[in-house]
Every structure is written in C-alpha cells, then in structure tokens.
Symmetry: C2
Subunit: 408 residues, 2 copies
Amino acid sequence: MKKNCIVAQSGGPTAAINASLAGVIKGAIDSEVYDKIYGSVHGIQGVLNLNFLDLSDATPEFIDKLQKTPAMYLGSCRFKLQDMEESTSEYEKIFDIFEQLNIGAFFYIGGNDSMDTVAKLSKYSQAINSDIRIAGIPKTIDNDLIETDHTPGFGSAAKYIASGIREMAYDTCIYNVSSVTIVEIMGRDAGWLTAAAALARNEYIHAPHLIYLPEVNFYEEQFLSDLQKLLAKYRNVIVAVSEGIHDENGNYLAASLATADKFGHAQLSGAGKYLENLVKNRLGIKVRSVEINIPQRCAGHLISKTDITEAFRAGEAAVALTELGKTGFMTNFVRVSENPYTCDVSSVSVARVANKAKAVPREYINKDGNDVTEAMINYLKPLIQGEVYTEFTDGIVDYLDISHLTNQ
Amino acid sequence: MKKNCIVAQSGGPTAAINASLAGVIKGAIDSEVYDKIYGSVHGIQGVLNLNFLDLSDATPEFIDKLQKTPAMYLGSCRFKLQDMEESTSEYEKIFDIFEQLNIGAFFYIGGNDSMDTVAKLSKYSQAINSDIRIAGIPKTIDNDLIETDHTPGFGSAAKYIASGIREMAYDTCIYNVSSVTIVEIMGRDAGWLTAAAALARNEYIHAPHLIYLPEVNFYEEQFLSDLQKLLAKYRNVIVAVSEGIHDENGNYLAASLATADKFGHAQLSGAGKYLENLVKNRLGIKVRSVEINIPQRCAGHLISKTDITEAFRAGEAAVALTELGKTGFMTNFVRVSENPYTCDVSSVSVARVANKAKAVPREYINKDGNDVTEAMINYLKPLIQGEVYTEFTDGIVDYLDISHLTNQ
C-alpha cells in the first residue's frame, strides 16, 4: 500500500525555496511509493495544527509557476522543537498525526535552524523505531550551511545583488562630482552575499570599489584611508558592506548609531547609515547609503536559472532518497568540476549540519580585508548563471495565487 | 549645406532617458538637415567645456542597446544658467561654440530644472535672432512636469515599484504573525510614484493596504488608527509612503527624527524609518521599513516597454519638429484614448513648462487621504504595460559601455 507524505517550509524566504517545493511535489507525484502529498502551512506548526493544503493533484503548469514564485508558498514558521530529553509531548503529537495520515516521509525545506527540527525528528523517529523517513532540503540566501558546496536561494540573491550594484554604478557616475555610495547587504555573520557584489565588475564598472565582510574586523580609520585612496583614482566610489560588520571587539557598527525619536526611544540604524554619517562628517563628501533590504531575497523577477534548477533537483532528490529507505539526511551539493561547472546532488547526515554555520574562509578575502579574491569570484560565478523567464500580467510580475496566506 | 546638432542630458537619472537620447540620434541620423551629432558630456557644461562624444556613426545595435541602458549615457549636470538680464557671458560663450561647430539644433533631455535651461537658451536665441533651434525633451521619474500627460521615465519607475511591492507582499505574508512593512518611495513634492504602488494589487495581493502622498497632510494619530483597522482585517499590512509626507504645518516627517551619531552630528532619517519607530513604539507590533532608494530610477532590468517606446518617440519627434523650423519647445504627450490606450507626441512652448511642477490632483486621492482612487489606477495602468528584453552577460545585466563616465 502506498504511503502519503508531508512537505513544509521554514525559516526566512528566498527566491528559490518554492523551486525545492516544486521538486518534492514532482518527485512525489512521479513516485511509486507516495500517494497523497500534504503541504503543511507554516512549517511544522501546520502539522501540529492540522493546517494542510492538498498538493497531490498539482499540474505541470502549477509546478512550473511554483518554481518561479518567490518567498514561501506554504508559509513559514520560527519554531524550535523541545529537546526530546526534556519533553516528548510535541514529538508524540507529531508522530500521532503522521500515523493518522499514513505518512511515509516528511520533507522540511529550510536553513540551519530548520535542520535542527529535521535532526530532532529523525532522532525521535529512530528512538521509537518508526519507519517514517525524515528529510531536510537546504535553503538560505546566506549560503552559510556546512556540508554543502552552496545553498539553494543563494545564487538568485547573489545575481540580484550583483546586477543591482552594476545598475547603481550607472546611476552614481552621471555627475561630474565625487561621491560615495554605501550599499548594505544582508548576512549578519556570513559575508557570502556581500562578496557576490564583486560580480558586478567588468572592464569599465569598477564597483564595488571596496567590499567589507563580517569575517574580518572593520577598522574605521583604515576604511576612511582606503576610501580616500580610491577617491583619488575614481570619481564615484561604491562600497559594499555586510550588515554584520563589526569592530575588533565584536561590536556591530550598526549598534553604534543609536537614534532617538521624539519619544526618546533608542533605535538601531544599519551599518550603511552609520558609514554614510561617518564619511559625511569625516570626509565632507557627497555620500548616500542604500540598504538592499528584503528585495534581495524575494525578487522573483531576477533569479538564477542555475539556482532554480538546482533547488528543484535538491527537492526531487530528497524524495528519491527516501524511496531508497534513507532518513535523517539533508540533500547537499557537491561541485564536481569548475569549467564546465557541474554539480551533483548528494546527501549528508542532518545531525552534522544542524545549528552550524559556514563562514567565508580567509583565503576568499584579500589580505587588506577590503575585497574578495579571485578564488571567491571563481566559486561564485557559476551560481548566478542563466535567466528564468518572468511572467507579467497587466505589466506587473505575476506569481502563484497565495490567497491561503494573504486572506487571513 | 547640412548643419550639425548637439544633444545632452540633465537632472536626475531614469531608466528611460537614454531611450530619448536614442530617439534623437535615430532622428538626426535619418534627417536630411543634420550631419554630425555631438553628444555633450555632463549636460550644458559639456558644451562650455567642449566635452563631446561623436554620435554620428551610431549603429542600429548601439541605438537598440542605448534604449535599454539605464541612467544617463552622456552624464548629467545640475547647472543653472544666469538670467540673461543679469549677464549674457555664458550665453555668448555657448552660442559662439554653437557657431564654431555649425550647430543647427540643441536638444536637451531633462526635468523642470533642465527646461529652465531650454527656456533661457530659447529666449537668448530669439533675442540675438539666431536660427539655432532649441528643443527640450521631458524626463523625470517624478512625473511632475506640467503640460504633458506624463513624463518618460515615470512608467518604468512605476512598474518597478509596483512589481517590487507585489514581491514584498509575498515576502511579508509567510509568518503567522502580524506585521507592518513601511515602504518609502521617492517623490518629495509629488506623489505620482507612491501612487503607482497601488498597481501591485490583484485578487489576493491587497498590498499596499495604505498609501500616503505628499499632496495631503499626514496625521500620525489618524495613520495609527487606519493601521489598526487594517490589522484587524489583514495579518500583514504594507504601507506605501512618499518620502515627502508632512504634517499640517508642512514639516516633513523625516525631519522629526534627528539621529545623533557618536560625533554628535544630527542626521535626518527618512519618513519610512520614522514611521517604523512610531509603529513599534505605539503599537508594539513587528515592523520594518524599506526604502526603495535609487533602484527605482536605475533598474534597467525591469522597465516598461510603453515608457521606453514613448521616450524614444519624444526624442525622435523633437528632431522632426526642429526640421520644420520649430524652436523653444518641449515635446509632450497627449493621451488620445484610454481603451485602447493611445498617446500622441506633440509639443508645447517650453516657457510654459520650466520651473513648474504638477501635483497629484485631489480627485486621484481618496476622501480619507490614505489611498488612491480608481481614476488614478486608470491613469497609471497603461504607462507600465509591456516588457523589454534585458541582456545578460555572465549572469549579470549588461548595458552599454560607459567607460567615458567611469574611467575618470
């Protein structure tokens, strides 16, 4: 008798996480093992609340559009399961529901926090000798999961950031006046996304002229000195900084700028705004800051075909691996060759991945700590290749109907 | 004997101003009247400094790619000519150079400040009985030029903003937690661009749930009350605000939030950041602000085909009108019919346009001052229609070589 399966999404949105969902759905539809496909709404909480969408009859058109729809079709959650050593009540409830719904496999698409859930469910499943397969599928724009060459969602965010910075270079060079533009990019602890800004460069676009990642300490005086050197060479300088840059004591720059509103409440501004003020006050030059903000993770109109294709494969492979009896794993990417770029989808024990983070290695950052190296560029380049055709209706980007999330 | 012509760009960048430049070049190449086409670098300053690019041999490929290249291929300036009643020295220098270069026409693509330059040069030309034609071609993302249905550059910015807000709606609805997102949009005095946010809506995307333009006074208590009503209905509320919203005394909200950095310097934050703090402190709800910032005017990868086509026509028509002997004009758009949308390119005396601004009429704003009306939607919709194929090289948006601007 066929079993059913559940798929859910968790953590922050990316432009590729729905492609992994599409891969799971396609894999499960094509499968001899699985019958019904339940989409759990709002992650593992959807299981606990019995909040499911039936995805079993997904059409090829639906699956295709889902791949290109940003953010999370099934919604998300930030929910940490209790350790089973402390209490098993949540686990019992979840596995009771799995039983009632005749579940053969549970697929969870998420980042390192979500892999904690996968690891815990796997451990409990093993402890009670359940044959329900538990599988993780990676995603995060931050690219900070270990045991995988890169993560789905990163390539699209990287492509968006690099293209955006190239366009800002067109914007900032028009006046015959020196200027500095500080661009703040997501990634509090890992600098992968900020590093991707380097891909904006070509023979005549020199932006970003400086790149600062959170993996190295940020020294304000050194930055001002770097900047002045660049301004002697280029009229309009663009600086890419991670939101998480910090001084040698680990203090975030962002935290140094406490802003008081008229109620007297303190409010943190970002690293970009902080540096804008620093440059203005110290160098007296025209300066602005741009925070790329949430578009870097939800701009479905500018995504990497490589990323979307791989995200889909990571979902599809997870289904295939559970069919072979595998459980307690996360699908991962193994770079096979650089030129031409090829990448295998494999798997790794999820217990090794959960709650860990991958920082940018020092050899990917230049000696002065204000740029990335050629090795980083070579690593990044394949991940942003290829474009995906965006649908428009009435002149506006058109994605899947998400009334189940917006009409509540 | 054929005459030569000069074309230049001025004011802030848009994604369509190069399409007007392409139209001028195409018009002049096809013309029986003009021979050499000089591109003046950095606006009228390029004339004074004899800083020209020769555009006479532009290929069809160059013209095509120019249309899709954002910002300003010829660079810009912020330069106000002295009144000729005060001093004619600048005018004499400019017309001497015109004479030396055998110029028959000068084309200036810009906003209302730039039309001041066109008006002044026209007036001087007339005063000295010169037969050099002086023509203005409109552009501004702000859509605030009078005597034209709309301005080139606005439709592309509007399309980008509406698409971006739709994507943010996908991003913000994923958690089962109430939230508010404040999106700050350009337009200090005119709310056209902020109004365009309304185009993000469809049957299930209700964002933006509130829209505040600078044409009506902003009342904080009313805003908080509006917001609470919306939050009772929708879990995740998105608010679109113009950077220029102000209280009944004309004080910008942005100015109310003076932030002090560690040097003790005051720094203005934007209206979005101000409202983020207000909502956080007063409603204690999850809130973030997003400033769309310069991408709304330089995102060449998401532009309106209608806008680019019309911008090109506005440039081409300017050449044709000078061939007929016309001078001292700005090309303008006249909406002929709504459904199907058709738009004529005509012209208007530039003296009527210069230094004036078109605000959003009250009937385009709802009674409560927190949304736009159906009439506004009907006005906006045709302007964002159609997509333009973006070129990518190595995964990154690829535009014309601008080394003449970046390598200096």
